[in-house]
Symmetry: C2
Subunit: 230 residues, 2 copies
DNA sequence: AGTACAATTCTTGTATATTAGTTTAAGTGA
DNA sequence: TCACTTAAACTAATATACAAGAATTGTACT
């Protein structure tokens, strides 16, 4: 599935991306190939080639002869990402309703239980992963894993925002798990109108609470011309 | 817009991609970094880094220590690409209908005339580009250029198929231009139901005539388990 | 004290050499 | 003739060296 191949390059790619996504490298921060190369104890070439991939996901920006920088989160792109996902996922869910199998049912139910457990334990990153898994399962059911991976590629900005929000506002988790369960029930009952409504509502929620997150991490975000004209 | 940067790497990227898209390098063919490096009179490093980008678009596949190969067209991925585009573009067009400006009108009308001209002159690549431009204009109108570029990234398989088809079946061009004009008229008239219908029909046509194209270029395509169980 | 300039340092871009794995084919034995 | 082994040739993977530009810092001059 992943086109990053053999060992060292993939290692570098995974590690660097992990650090960006989990905000160990923070938006705006300057990193350098040599820095990482010593930090990861690798030559500069695999680092460089990993960075090319990551650049394409718009998680870093490399300015020649100057430096490599972690990009700030672009809320405009996050909106576009949501738009795309809102266009696709309702169709995915409607189709999934007609294809549900016992195995998938079991997986989803396990996932839902895990979500509730994790929500109580206050582990934002685990919760994020479970949330992702939940949605992904329906794509798999439709044999649309390719589409899912495309979405992930394009939704880096949106996903960074979501991770940040989970860190900040933990009360939100209850709402999300509850919605997930309602969606699952609607799919089981093949209640098409309800599925469509719930999914749209649910996905729309992804970009809620912008204000809270923006206040908590103001310099993690790119300044767009429209927002914040004080 | 493009994240390919400075001169040499971008040169390499553009040239290699051009040759793949226009089938100068044909699907299945083995290429090698050294070969291209001498062919383009460049060092191996920029080539290599360009190839990493192209690999991500699934136009080539690199097998470590063995070789780099032009991928065959994956019709399953093409279908998924169409699915995504069918999900998005109707919404784009509906929104565009409410935002039409005189300048965009002029551009589209120019484009339509060019299409008709090019269709007569039998220039498949030019026609493909005009077709692309036509659709892109509506995305721009909605400030959704980002979405358009995502789609292009994911639709390489579909686009290669479309280019091939234009080479093969030239009678199709009349149908396409006619549909484009109908779509434009519907947008101008803000006839939402018609827009929705026409766009879905039009996009669905993208993968028509699989048989003809497959017969003409059988070994350009990946063998998927479902097709051709003779 | 402030500004302009120059040199040093740091960064990525590119080329080349080395390494390691894969493939191919030749060669050897039965 | 065939199966197996082995070596040679080719490929991408990685490391390293060098070049060119950007940024910073220090210094001299106003």
């Amino acid at each position: 599935m992943d086109n990053t191949r053999d060992n060292m390059r993939k290692d570098a790619y995974d590690q660097i991306k992990y650090r960006i996504i989990h905000f160990e490298y923070i938006p705006g921060q300057k990193i350098s190939e040599k820095l990482i190369s010593t930090e990861l104890n690798l030559g500069r070439t695999p680092i460089r080639e990993a960075l090319i991939r990551i650049e394409r996901e718009e998680l870093i920006e490399v300015i020649p002869q100057s430096g490599t920088y972690i990009t700030r989160i672009d809320l405009q792109e996050a909106e576009d990402g949501r738009f795309v996902r809102e266009s696709i996922e309702p169709r995915i869910m409607l189709q999934a309703a007609t294809m549900m199998t016992p195995e998938t049912k079991a997986k989803i139910q396990d996932n839902l239980k895990e979500q509730e457990k994790t929500a109580k334990l206050n582990q934002p990153d685990s919760f994020f992963d479970l949330d992702q898994d939940f949605h992904h399962l329906f794509y798999s059911l439709d044999n649309k894993d390719t589409v899912w991976s495309w979405l992930q590629m394009n939704n880096t900005q949106l996903n960074r925002f979501r991770r940040l929000r989970l860190k900040e506002t933990d009360l939100n988790w209850q709402t999300l798990t509850k919605q997930h369960r309602l969606i699952y029930d609607a799919v089981i009952n093949k209640d098409l109108d309800t599925i469509d409504y719930l999914i749209k509502e649910h996905l729309h929620l992804m970009l809620e609470e912008k204000g809270t997150v923006l206040n908590a991490y103001p310099d993690y975000f790119k300044v767009n011309d429209d927002d914040q004209v004080s």
